[in-house]
Amino acid sequence: MGLIKDPHGREFSRPDNQLATRPELGKPTIVRAPDGHEGAGFFATKLADAVGLARQNSLWPLPFATSCCGIEFMATMASNYDVARFGMERLSFSPRQSDLLMVMGTIAKKMAPVLRDVYTQMAEPKWVLSMGACASSGGIFDTYSVLQGIDRIIPVDVYIPGCPPRPEQVIDGILKIQALVGEESLRRRYSKEYEHLLKTYKID
């Protein structure tokens, strides 16, 4: 596992296939190349690995921030924590041009169809990150007006616990998403399982 330091000098891990220093080159590289065969003038690897490498390090997130988790995400975006270090330089506020939906905050039942519309407008492949107790389970708002977890209306890939989670947790969640993205098969979105998943959410 590669280790990375946050601004306070604390270390946390990130997936092995990602950021690592390559001592043989003498300087750190941003990402490590996937496994493959290398020779004079060529490097051969799986197409899925190459595409995954590109996708995972250039996610365009769509922040769907409705409450205090959104404030924590703003801190995560800003210079102290800086998600741009992970290839998320551009936040997309347009669903068509984004591939990671970050749902941060309480989703009222009246908001649910809006969130669903945003999800269905995103182009495949797309991933969903549910940040905080409210988005993941309704949180303390066990009441008639609040959706008890966004996974009741859209499929979720990674949940971040916390009320609200610290920026380090958000970055950890993003790294987990990146690991999923990097390992995803190119055919997954055409698979029967994926179609079935969307069917259970009545999304076509």
Binding site: G138, T143, Q148
Partner: protein, 169 residues
């Protein structure tokens, strides 16, 4: 100087005028903190409000909300009126039976009443005859209940992850 002080002479004027005009329909009056509270009936509430606006200079409807008195099966309506010029405010209250919760609309007196009446309809199911657009304002349009009535269970019934034994029940 505080924004609101007890205005005993104005309060007395309101009481005198309203009892003279509406007699037994003014059920009672009392002062809570700095505010005069007039309890009246649903039949004359609109006329009382109109009298307050036109004769007593209450030009502003600060707020209006519903109430549910479950112990006597009635729904109530509470209105806060304010006179900008006189620096005076009062509260009007009336109740209707739960079975027939109907008031006349107050939108003809104050346009502010439009959304407040929609809120009272949304949360308590109080109807306002003559309202131009009486539909839900905060809840989903297909919401099946009036959630602030006391017989409505507050917790979301669709949640499965709660173990009753953890909550002592």
């Amino acid at each position: 100087m505080p924004a609101f002080v007890v205005k005993a002479d104005r309060d007395q004027l309101v009481i005198d005028q309203l009892t003279a005009a509406f007699g037994a329909d003014i059920l009672s009056h009392e002062r809570i903190a700095d505010m005069l509270v007039i309890n009246t009936t649903k039949n004359v509430l609109h006329q009382v409000a109109q009298h307050c606006k036109e004769q007593l200079d209450f030009n502003f409807l600060t707020t209006m909300c519903g109430m549910h008195y479950s112990e006597r099966d009635t729904l109530g309506l509470v209105m806060h009126l304010q006179s900008m010029r006189k620096g005076h405010r009062i509260r009007l209250k009336a109740e209707v039976p739960l079975k027939e919760p109907v008031f006349p609309t107050f939108t003809d007196l104050w346009d502010t009443a439009n959304w407040m009446e929609r809120e009272a309809w949304d949360f308590f199911g109080i109807q306002f005859t003559g309202h131009p657009n009486l539909k839900r304002i905060l809840n989903m349009e297909d919401f099946p209940a009036f959630p602030l009535r006391k017989d409505y269970p507050l917790e979301d019934p669709t949640r499965e992850d709660k173990d009753d034994s953890m909550f002592g029940r």
